[in-house]
Chain length 354, copies 2
Amino acid sequence: MKKNILVIPGDGIGQEVTIWGKKVLEKIGQKYGHEFSFDEAIMGHVAIEATGNPLPDETLEKAKSSDAILFGAIGHAKYDNDPSAKVRPEQGLLKIRKELGLYANLRPILLFDELLDASSLKPEVLKGTDILFFRELTGDVYFGEKNRSEDNNFASDLMNYNRYEVERIARKAYEAARTRSKKLCSVDKANVLETSRLWREVVQEIATEYPDVETEHMFIDNAAMQLVKNPKKFDVVLTANLFGDILTDEASQIAGSMGMLASASIGDGTGFFEPIHGSAHDIAGQNKANPLASILSVALMLDISFGLQAEAKEVTEAVAATLKAGWRTGDIANVNTPADKILGTQEMGAKVLE
Amino acid sequence: MKKNILVIPGDGIGQEVTIWGKKVLEKIGQKYGHEFSFDEAIMGHVAIEATGNPLPDETLEKAKSSDAILFGAIGHAKYDNDPSAKVRPEQGLLKIRKELGLYANLRPILLFDELLDASSLKPEVLKGTDILFFRELTGDVYFGEKNRSEDNNFASDLMNYNRYEVERIARKAYEAARTRSKKLCSVDKANVLETSRLWREVVQEIATEYPDVETEHMFIDNAAMQLVKNPKKFDVVLTANLFGDILTDEASQIAGSMGMLASASIGDGTGFFEPIHGSAHDIAGQNKANPLASILSVALMLDISFGLQAEAKEVTEAVAATLKAGWRTGDIANVNTPADKILGTQEMGAKVLE
Ligand SMILES: CC(C)[C@H](C(=O)O)[C@@H](O)C(=O)O
Ligand SMILES: CC(C)[C@H](C(=O)O)[C@@H](O)C(=O)O
């Protein structure tokens, strides 16, 4: 198989972890005889510094013509503390999602038994949890019209959905539910929001096409609570862009750390694979970041974009074996982890490669 | 002291738990020689059934002329599963918040040592947690213009804030932070939303008036994660209506159960006190609901609306003593709770009264 992969490390620890995702791809290519070729491009803060544009045209063109994208992270505290900044790294990420039509963001909450103890939740609450989030990614209040009054006394963002936007992600989620335990929970705020009422109506309609899947509707406030109380009760979770942003980060605690979670953004074209963690400038350049989420993003790429299930499985198992052997990065270590088992980014990446 | 209290039981378990809040008020009145007089009014599903209106004018008038309101809960599954319903119980709650100008919703996350085990979080993660949420309650996407296209293919809600709306709640939160550990965390999504950028700008400005308070700004996705990971790191949390709805329900797991959490909605007039739990029709009428949140709402009323700190303390201590004696309702019991220590709503209410 011949594939052309674009690597966009982005900002902060994105730079450090993406190297390891790429190395794993190279190794899998060698081992299974696939021709993976790589190109690299800039996005986010680094792109603003270099070109003034968080998503340079060249990056977008390369992205469109690649077979899959491995992305790192984006963001910088500089913009966060300056609410009036007009150009922001996040605009690059939002724009590429929109331009590539990446409307479905899949976030599997994969629980490694070895990490049951790393979470703040009790092991007995966690054990057996296996959730697959479908977060809508190109609509909602993220992309609605924004306004700021001239006198700076008023600001607004339009939360909105079109029927077709809900339909297409709902279908993807239902298809996935069919191959899993046939349970789907759609999360909204239909008791308050018109957008959510449309969302719920459409999901109810699509549900009739999948009578074998059991559908539940839940309000976002309740879902945020249930996810902590009893994560096991969820299987496929379908939700809008903003609610999905919040719920999936919350759910990352189930997996012990954000450093463990990968995500796949897909649509009708090129797929986009990234850790769910951010750029974490506070630990950037210190060889402290956990490279496992980037490596697990590669597993998702192999599986979803290339249809290489055996290769994907090998990557996931290499991660599991490394954890089983006791190796940890700081974020997934706990008081009982022997100091000599705590590794830096590079050492952890190398262990998985072995 | 002479006070005129309006009781609005509302829907579902609201009916059962509010009785106990009222009884506690009566008892405190007798003991301390206050003249508490009570009136009752309808709101929500029960009001729709009786009058077609979720907030009848009569209820609103009584509310405006009372000194404080003890509310139960609102909602009914009937409307939840019918996204096209035009009249909904929640409209009553939203309208009364708006009409009474209840712009600040205070939700203390009060942790009773006896309940450390009832949570899905590890006791060592929880211990020492003491958070006071300030959720804005009369703005945001809750009250912005709603639209539905004629062909039903598009729906929208306007998320928006005015500067003064952010200012007044920020001041309340900073004032509270001063009397506590002088730490305030403001939660927004300023990397994506214009509304949040205005929010952050205004909070940064107000912060300069309170140089003795340490301010942190956090994105909502990160906050939803940190709240599970390390709740102790939060003290006063200030946030918008929608984010507050989600975060406070999530935080209820810290206190072991939604059945334990009370909230105070205040503004420039009458204060409004309610449990944060919903109407829970699935357990309504079964003498299963936990009355403690309603009783703790009364403690907030005594403290905040009437300035009766000693009386408020007595109520909170009565709840603590009841828990210490081992009494539990089902929601806060665990596998180690002896069966004869698990009480119904009435029995639990009576224990606290004793
Ligand atoms: C960086 C930010 C714009 C982004 C989002 O909110 O979508 C991030 O939090 C994510 O979840 O990928
Ligand atoms: C019932 C609903 C409208 C309400 C809200 O979202 O504000 C409730 O969840 C709450 O938090 O008081």
